[in-house]
Amino acid sequence: MIHGILAEFRNPLDLMHAAEKVRDAGYNKFDCHSPFPVHGMDQAMGLKRSKLGFVIAFFAILGGLIGFALQSWTHSIAYPLTISGKPLFAWQAYIIIIFALFVLFGAISAVLGMLHFNRLPRFHHPVFYSENFKKATDDGFFISIESEDSKFSDTETKSFLESIGGDNVELLEGDDE
């Protein structure tokens, strides 16, 4: 089974320009691989803004509500004890815990959400079948186009990648898992 096509580019600038051409050619299931972050790559690839912020907002607010409910229930319903002359429903004192849980839930959901959207953790990926791809952690810059893309075709995509300056263009065979 063919997973996709991998092409190598000489430097980060070539990679960025190639990404723009792949984007403009209408591909949307492709990825860029480089040893370090390349500024402006998000726009070059035509990536949309991440949905992560909304996930974090949801869980952060949920955390705040849990913090409020927990304190007001224990303090004024379950164990109504007067502590240092404060009223049973002392909302001022709750704010710190509400804030802390808000931040805690937000931070944890940010990490887990990031992993989810990146489809991590995973132990293998078909690009690793390529010997040449080992350079991606050192000095190699790659674009991989997946066969699931509606515009994908073995021969045309290959010649397209060659036409925009890709070297060592190779088919990636093997399953995703």
């Binding site: 500024h39 998000d42 803004r49 002359g85 001022q92 004192a93 704010i95």
Partner: protein
């Protein structure tokens, strides 16, 4: 007024400056009539307005110091705005003179007979006494004058082509300058605002004033940049990316202000010691209570909920509204700190609140505009200027 986009200089700026100056002087004259009719009200209104422009200048000093400490790129194109705001601080020493005359009306601790009979105040007399108060004020103004002129000197040298190690030198000024800034701001806010209620103390008070002063300068920078861009100045140099960063800072420091205000309130509420809680008790009396709640709503909740979205930080209309709101709220915040000392039982607006504000504000803008247009309005020889203009948010 004409703008030369190659040298970045504004020629013939005097007419606008004169407008600011005359407006200021007329309103100061009106305030002087107020002094004749009700000098106590005059001094308190005057103190609020004075502190507003002091915190604006101090915010400018802070933004400048942090710019040279971090060598941030995006601020380069707008850095002359806080730098100029910082240079108005020494001039504020002139506006301090009425406060010296009004000390007896403003500060209860100047009444030595009352202090002698007061167990708490008599212990504070080593710090809160007239000569030491004046010496401290002089020290603050000397610090602000020294830092301001030193930084300005180097910054202008850069325009003349002494590129080599200007940032190194400025960093050497900015690092110790940061300590001097923090100490002078803290003690100035203790002296001029906190001692209005001499029994009360809050160690976080300086940070509270700092958070407001940072908000003020960023809001001022936003509005001033919009103001000059409307007149065709820096039209292509300041982009939506710079406004986006202003929005981010406004948002961040809205949260910071609320955090500090909340911390101050919370610790006092928790401790429940009468000598500390009395300050909040005064601000919970009559219509002061509404103003306290309004502060939470309009100084925190509104800017927080509006500026949290990326789209609103990149929308100039929304940003204009928020920057204006924050400036107004900073004024109300200072009003809320100062005025309950005079009007114990509720908010009591006076026309002098407005006239002193416009009066000092007019002269402030005159000084600001004069200093701003005296040199190129962006550091033309800065090697990273082009990077700053082309800067993009991730």
């Amino acid at each position: 007024m004409k703008f030369d986009s190659t040298t970045y200089r504004i020629s013939n700026p005097e007419p606008l400056g004169r407008k600011f100056l005359y407006t200021g002087l007329v309103f100061l004259l009106l305030s002087a009539f107020g002094w004749v009719t009700n000098h106590e009200q005059f001094y308190f209104s005057y103190l609020v307005s004075f502190m507003f422009f002091i915190t604006l200048g101090l915010g400018g000093l802070f933004v400048t110091l942090i710019h040279y400490l971090t060598h941030s790129v995006w601020t380069i194109v707008v850095k002359r705005i806080p730098e100029t705001a910082m240079r108005t601080l020494p001039w504020m020493a002139i506006f301090f003179i009425p406060i010296i005359f009004g000390m007896h009306d403003l500060y209860h601790w100047t009444d030595y007979d009352a202090v002698a009979q007061d167990a708490i105040l008599s212990k504070k007399v080593g710090y809160l006494n007239t000569p030491f108060f004046l010496i401290r004020a002089a020290v603050y103004f000397v610090i602000w004058f020294g830092l301001g002129s030193l930084i300005h000197k180097f910054s202008i040298q850069q325009d003349e082509g002494h590129e080599s190690d200007i940032y190194q030198r400025l960093r050497r000024v900015a690092a110790p300058g940061m300590f001097l800034f923090a100490l002078s701001l803290t003690f100035a806010s203790f002296d001029w605002l906190m001692s209005l209620d001499p029994h009360w103390y809050s160690t976080i008070f300086g940070v509270y004033i700092f958070s407001g002063s940072y908000l003020t300068i960023i809001a001022f920078m936003t509005l001033f940049t919009m103001f000059i861009q409307r007149r065709g100045i820096l039209k292509n140099e300041v982009t939506i990316e710079h406004y986006h960063d202003f929005g981010k800072l406004l948002f961040a420091f809205t949260v910071f202000w609320a955090y500090i205000a909340g911390s101050q309130y919370f610790l006092i509420w928790y401790g429940n010691i009468p000598e500390e809680t009395v300050w909040f008790l005064h601000r919970w009396e009559g219509s002061w209570k509404s103003m306290s709640l309004f502060l939470i709503f309009a100084h925190f909740a509104v800017p927080f909920l509006v500026l949290i979205f990326r789209a609103s930080k990149r929308n100039k209309t929304v940003l204009f509204a928020m920057a204006s709101l924050i400036l107004i709220m900073q004024f109300i915040d200072l009003y809320w700190i100062v005025m309950p000392t005079l009007h114990h039982h509720g908010v009591h607006f006076s026309w002098m609140d407005i006239t002193t504000f416009v009066g000092i504000g007019g002269v402030f803008l005159f000084l600001f505009w004069k200093n701003f247009t005296a040199n190129a309005i962006v550091p033309v020889k800065d090697e990273k200027l082009q990077d700053s203009i082309k800067f993009l948010n991730p």
